[in-house]
């Protein structure tokens, strides 16, 4: 039960219970000690009372003054515990062993023979006793006989003292009442204090737990500043460990950022290399063509063929640059169905030059939430690649389909079929090899970035149909 409670409740509650248990135990022990000390105190009081009686009663005995002896015994017995309830009594016994006077004459009748007789089931010593005689009975009562001697040593009489067992018995109802009052007082004073101390003790722990719960969501530096400072060595160790954890997480985050930056730089490098490659390839032919023009440009047919060559090379470079432009452009808006028409317009010239027919299919069932920039680039790259693959007089089919879950753009051409293995070979960019199909590689990268896929349609066996499919949501990093 207790373990199911929060730590911030467990400790104050535990301290409070400890206070309660301690109060009960202390009270029980105190009651025992009180009972023992009460008996010793009672016996000490009896000693003092007997000494007082012996000191005062001598002249009264000599004067045979029963009344004054009675007055002395009555007044002295009144000082003994239990006397008001008749549990303690004193008597002076004369040298003949008879009661001279008693504090309770109804029990110890004047003139009654006592010494040497049985009293309450036990024999009393006979007259002539010169030293104190004491008897502790089985029931706990005490009986004692103390001689009264004159200054010259003659025995004048005896003081008989009887204390009933009830005097020594603990007054449990009274003790319980006092104990209850003590417990209530202790609980009233210490329980709030225990609760307050417990709350104070658990506050750093509670704060640590809260900060640990915020790790990963808030800035580590901000969280570290809120770490509680405590003198408790255990809590200080926990706090240090949490601070160390935050440091490591921050270092890891920084390392990840550096790795991501390095990867981006590497990607830019790879992209630059690919662009350089794409541009460098036609440049060699273009340089050759310019030399041909310079040497043999007078001939019309040579000039025409050379100029055509230069034109195609420049067109290739333009295509490469055109493929790169959308990636660097920052556009925040979502994809629009008109974007497909824009891309088709861009490639229309190339398609017409090769006499390629492009068919378009649009099926948008839900609002488009994917970003437009990467999708425009994907569509352009896939179309240019398809036009190239379809060849002269070829046919290209485009389709944009969107529902609540996904956005799918596919381009099919009737050129040589490309399967999944061939596609991987084309877009492989790892290992420093030049990508054979830079545009397709860009599509692959964007598909990965947008948590989607870029694969050939396995069902299209007689043609090539590449499918770009991404989740239909704005933030590609967050799950739908």
């Amino acid at each position: 039960m207790l373990r199911r409670l929060p730590y911030r409740v467990q400790i104050p509650l535990g301290l409070s219970l400890a206070v309660l248990i301690a109060a009960i135990l202390v009270t029980a022990v105190s009651a025992q000690v009180f009972t023992r000390s009460a008996r010793a105190e009672t016996l000490a009081q009896v000693d003092r009372a007997v000494a007082l009686v012996i000191a005062q009663v001598r002249p009264m005995l000599v004067a045979d003054d029963t009344w004054r002896v009675f007055s002395l015994l009555r007044d002295t017995a009144g000082l003994l515990p239990g006397a008001p309830l008749g549990h303690a009594r004193l008597a002076v016994v004369d040298v003949d062993g008879r009661v001279f006077a008693a504090s309770d004459p109804l029990r110890l009748e004047t003139g009654r023979p006592l010494l040497g007789e049985a009293w309450h089931g036990a024999p009393l010593p006979p007259e002539g006793v010169t030293r104190s005689w004491r008897a502790s009975r089985e029931d706990g009562s005490v009986l004692r006989l103390d001689p009264i001697a004159s200054d010259d040593g003659q025995t004048l009489g005896y003081v008989l003292t009887e204390i009933d067992a009830a005097v020594f018995g603990a007054d449990w109802p009274a003790l319980a009442g006092n104990a209850l009052a003590g417990i209530v007082l202790a609980v009233a004073l210490l329980l709030p204090a225990g609760w307050w101390v417990g709350q104070r003790m658990t506050r750093p722990v509670e704060r640590l737990a809260m900060l640990i719960g915020r790790i990963g969501r808030d800035e580590p530096g901000k969280l570290r500043a809120q770490l509680p400072h405590t003198a408790d060595p255990e809590l200080a160790r926990i706090g240090d460990a949490v601070a160390q954890l935050m440091d490591e997480l921050e270092r890891r985050r920084e390392a990840e950022e550096r790795a991501l930056s390095a990867e981006r730089l590497a990607a830019v490098g790879r992209m630059t290399a690919a662009v350089a490659h794409e541009i460098n390839n036609p440049l060699a032919g273009l340089l050759t063509a310019t030399r041909t023009l310079r040497l043999r440009g007078d001939a019309n047919d040579v000039r025409e063929r050379t100029v055509d060559l230069i034109d195609r090379g420049l067109q290739q470079i333009r295509s490469t640059v055109t493929a790169l432009l959308p990636q660097v452009r920052v556009e925040e808006r979502a994809l629009d169905p008109d974007d497909l028409d824009d891309v088709l317009t861009l490639v229309q010239g190339t398609a017409e030059r090769l006499d390629i027919r492009i068919e378009r299919s649009l099926e948008v069932e839900s609002a488009l939430r994917v970003p437009s920039a990467p999708l425009r680039q994907v569509m352009l790259n896939m179309l240019l690649n398809a036009i190239k693959a379809a060849g002269e007089h070829g046919r290209v089919e485009t389709a944009l389909h969107a529902d609540a879950e996904f956005v799918e753009f596919s381009v099919a051409n009737d050129g040589q079929p490309v399967d999944a293995e061939r596609l991987r070979t084309l877009i492989a960019a790892e290992g420093g090899r030049d990508p054979q199909g830079f545009g397709l590689w860009v599509c692959q990268e964007l598909a990965s970035h947008l948590h989607g896929s870029f694969v050939p349609d396995p069902s299209a066996t007689d043609r090539t149909r590449l499918v770009f499919r991404v989740p239909n949501r704005e933030d590609p990093a967050s799950p739908s």
Partner: protein
Amino acid sequence: MRRRDCLGLLAALAWPALGTAAESGPDRTLRIGLTPVILADQAAFLTRWAAYLEERCSVPLRFVARESYQPVLDLLLTQRVDAAWICGYPFVLHERDLSLLAVPSWADEPLYRSYLIRSRRLAPDIEGWRDLRDRVLAYSDPLSNSGWLVAQAQLSKAGLSAGDLRRSFFAHGHRNVAEAVAAGLAHAGSIDGYVWETMRLQGMSAIDDTEVVWRSEEFGFPPLVTLRQPSHARVDALREALFTMPRNPEGRALLDALNLDGFVPGDASLFNSIRLQAMQIPDSGVQG
């Protein structure tokens, strides 16, 4: 404790009187000795009574109380007090030296009786003096008529001697006799009937545990006496103040507190019964 405290206080108040003769020196204080013939340990009452008498005697007045009769008698015989309220027995004993100042009147007569009381719890079987054999008997004072002399006469009449009692003792006052019997210290006690009745009237607890089993013939009430000497104006004034108490509301209230009707001149013949009784007791000191 309260009784002894009061007596101690009264003794302290009376201390200056012990060192000087009543009639000598410049001290004109009128001193009156008190014995346990009355419940004299009520300091507030004595203060009021002294003030009442002072006003009428025109001299300072002080009561001097003692637990026993003999010390008061000694003070009177040595002229350390001007008057004393003693028992009829010491008056008879010292009749040649004493003269009556006033005799209290109780129940319209200057007479009282002696009682034999028993303990309700300890000795309910005592019916009379004959039943005191092997019992403990409490007396009041060796100079008390009701508290000793009567008992001696009745024990003798019952055929009992002192040795036939288990034990006897003096309780130094009639009130103490009642308390001793009530506590069970004694089986029976010889007590002044006026004191016992006054204690009963005042609701004292000791009375509840005692019972009167015998009442004596009537005796002259314990009188206030002075030394037999020429009259003195202060004493005459005191006598007059005592006699006129019933006619004064304040005096009447004081008498009610004493459970008395008033004071009368009295006559020595009032104490003839005591005298005759004492003459029958060999150790009484009263000769025939």
